[in-house]
């Protein structure tokens, strides 16, 4: 029953995915929520909603990272979220 090894990533790809899951996905989640809070008039409901949607979003990104075969594709998606959110936070 254990998963077949040939489908699992190894070496640097594995390390890269673990880093993406813990740091990349967290940064993307946090910045995305703050960017949404910045772009609405009343940030309070958004901020309070983020106290639980953040964890759901973080885990969602974790699963996404593993569902996408190539680590660089996952990293690109995370970096796109991070940069767009950062621009919004900086501009507004």
């Amino acid at each position: 029953m254990p998963a077949k090894k040939k489908y699992l990533s190894s070496g640097w790809k594995r390390v890269s995915k673990i880093l993406a899951v813990i740091f990349g996905a967290y940064a993307a989640t946090a910045l995305l929520h703050i960017a949404i809070a910045k772009s609405v008039i009343d940030d309070t409901p958004v901020l309070l909603t983020s106290t639980f949607t953040s964890f759901i979003c973080w885990v969602g990104l974790m699963v996404m990272i593993y569902l996408i075969k190539k680590a660089w594709v996952s990293w690109s998606i995370l970096l796109v979220i991070i940069s767009i959110s950062s621009v919004i936070i900086y501009m507004l």
Partner: protein
């Protein structure tokens, strides 16, 4: 039965692997969290069981002002500019608890906490408690015994629990509908554990997902709020707090004049009349005894999900300050959300029925965790692993089971130690708590010598059952309050005694008459690695297991099978 579209073969395997790794790493910690958490739902009732001061009938005619006065005198004056919070007597906790601040010599203040029993008017410092059974269990629930890091570890466990739930859901997506009722005892041990794990996982999914999210919220909120507070409010944390709690926006004068304002007892009756269905939990005062004194009456009916409220009242004339109050069930989204999460996590809605359901679901989750550990091991006890690897799997499984299953007897020992260590003894909690933790450790170590999982299970159940039956007896002998005495005077004490009695009797019955110990040991035995078609048999049977004995997944199986055979062909 209708089938949902599942993952492809590769993604299935990747999800399976992440589910296995995240699950096995957090499993024993998650078991401790759920087991201790289940008991913590009843922590106020356990506090009544453990502490003789709490075992008095509730006297409705308590005097809040006098309690403050007595505490003030015995602590040499409280600083009323700081929050002075008085928790009112309840059936489980029939004492008045005061949380205030006292001035230090260096012009700072220090928080104090004490309770007064209305019958004797004696003051007891809460910071130096007589007993800590419920606190020990509650602290264990979020690993507070581990300095600083404890709550963050618990939060991370909750986060990866959510990850394991989502990946587990994706693995079983295809057969999700059949898994709802696939109760069966047929097949090999592997398929019994697999079925138990998936069926209980699917049924308990909403409960477990709720706890994973709210648990991560309670443990890791700082990770969300810290960047938000820096980027949205330039690090001003008070701006953040006042958005959730209107009471935080209210200010009182530091040098206000002393004033003879209305009595808290009088205003308490007023709140009671206005909200007859509600329990007044506590009253939080600012500048008590001064001209601008304010009291916040916190109320809850323990039924609704949005029914917590806070009534701000000026003590000079008893007027309710609407802008600083929260009216139950009429709160805005922003004001509701935190209370909503707390109610879900602490099970303070839906009354006692909901608490019992929570307890049962938590125990089901504990069973699901154990079955997950056993799947992990059983699936690895085959030719695809070397003897060394299999020995490693065996040792890990044995440790994990020992940590988890020994909690049942260890909790019974904690309850027994609470009664057997004399209540008059000075500093008795530094005796009771080590007894609990050392006997838990001792029970774990003994468990490492039992090389059959069925034997571990039977023995822990037997020891736990024996100790559990003793709990109500020792309670009766030591306190002279047997179940039939407390049944009327303090019924929660009787319920806890009865819980231990029935838990003990059923554990003894199951361990002595129902459980069969396998003849063969679980220590990995050498397998003839040359013989037979290595791996392929397992692969076929495993696909059969996951498909409930039906080979409907043939298209998925074949490429995997062919590639396995191809690899074999090359190596031969």
């Amino acid at each position: 039965m209708k089938k949902l579209k599942g993952l492809g073969n590769e993604r299935y395997n990747v999800m399976f692997h992440t589910h296995t790794v995240s699950g096995i790493v957090i499993s024993f910690a998650l078991f401790v969290i759920f087991y201790a958490g289940a008991f913590s739902i009843f922590r106020h009732e356990i506090a009544q069981w453990e502490n003789p001061d709490m075992r008095q009938p509730l006297n409705e005619n308590f005097d809040i002002d006098q309690a403050i006065k007595i505490i003030d005198e015995s602590y040499g004056g409280l600083n009323y500019y700081e929050n002075t919070n008085i928790w009112l007597p309840t059936e489980e906790s029939p004492v008045l608890r005061v949380y205030g601040a006292i001035d230090q010599t260096d012009s700072t203040t220090e928080r104090m906490a004490a309770y007064i029993s209305p019958a004797t008017m004696e003051v007891q410092d809460i910071r130096k408690p007589l007993t800590t059974v419920s606190d020990t269990i509650y602290f264990l629930h979020y690993f507070r015994q581990i300095p600083v890091a404890g709550i963050y570890i618990a939060g991370l466990v909750a986060l990866f629990f959510l990850f394991a739930i989502v990946t587990g859901l994706l693995i079983h997506w295809k057969n999700l509908l059949t898994k709802m009722y696939a109760f069966t005892k047929k097949g090999s041990w592997k398929s019994i554990w697999t079925n138990a794990h998936t069926v209980l996982g699917v049924i308990g999914l909403p409960f477990q997902a709720m706890y994973a999210v709210t648990g991560a919220f309670l443990g890791l909120l700082i990770l969300i709020l810290a960047p938000a507070s820096v980027l949205l409010y330039n690090g001003d944390q008070e701006a953040l707090v006042s958005k959730v709690n209107p009471a935080a926006a209210l200010t009182v004068e530091k040098d206000a004049q002393p004033f003879e304002h209305l009595s808290l007892n009088e205003l308490y009756q007023k709140v009671r009349l206005e909200y007859p269905e509600f329990i007044v939990k506590n009253v939080n005062t600012r500048n008590y005894g001064k001209e601008d004194a304010v009291a916040f009456w916190n109320i809850d009916d323990h039924q609704g999900i949005n029914s917590t409220g806070s009534l701000a009242m000026r003590l000079k004339d008893g007027e309710v300050l609407k802008e600083y109050s929260l009216i139950p069930n009429q709160k805005t989204y922003s004001m509701s959300i935190i209370g909503f999460i707390f109610k879900l996590h602490y099970s303070t809605y839906g009354g006692n029925v909901m608490r019992v359901i929570y307890f049962i679901l938590a125990m089901i989750t504990c069973f699901m965790i154990i079955s997950g550990i056993l799947i992990w091991r059983t699936a690895r006890n085959n030719k695809r692993y070397t003897l060394k690897q299999r020995n490693f799997h065996h040792r890990i499984t044995k440790w994990y089971l020992a940590v988890c299953l020994s909690l049942f007897p260890a909790f019974a020992i904690l309850f027994l130690a609470n009664k057997l260590v004399p209540i008059e003894m000075t500093d008795r909690i530094s005796v009771v708590n080590p007894i609990f933790f050392l006997s838990w450790l001792g029970l774990m170590i003994i468990g490492m010598f039992w090389n059959k999982y069925s034997l571990q299970n039977r023995n822990y159940l037997f020891i736990g059952g024996l100790l559990s039956v003793l709990v109500p007896i020792v309670n009766g002998v030591v306190t002279q309050q047997w179940i039939w005495d407390t049944w009327n005077s303090a019924h929660w004490v009787a319920y806890i005694d009865l819980f231990w009695f029935f838990a003990g009797v059923s554990a003894l019955y199951v361990s002595l008459f129902l459980l069969k110990i396998k003849d063969e040991t679980d220590i990995p035995q050498p397998i003839d690695y040359q013989e037979g078609d290595e791996g392929v048999d397992d692969l076929v049977s495993e696909m059969e297991d996951t498909e409930d004995g039906k080979k409907e997944n043939v298209t998925d199986v074949e490429p995997a099978l062919n590639s396995q055979l191809a690899i074999k062909g090359v190596s031969n």
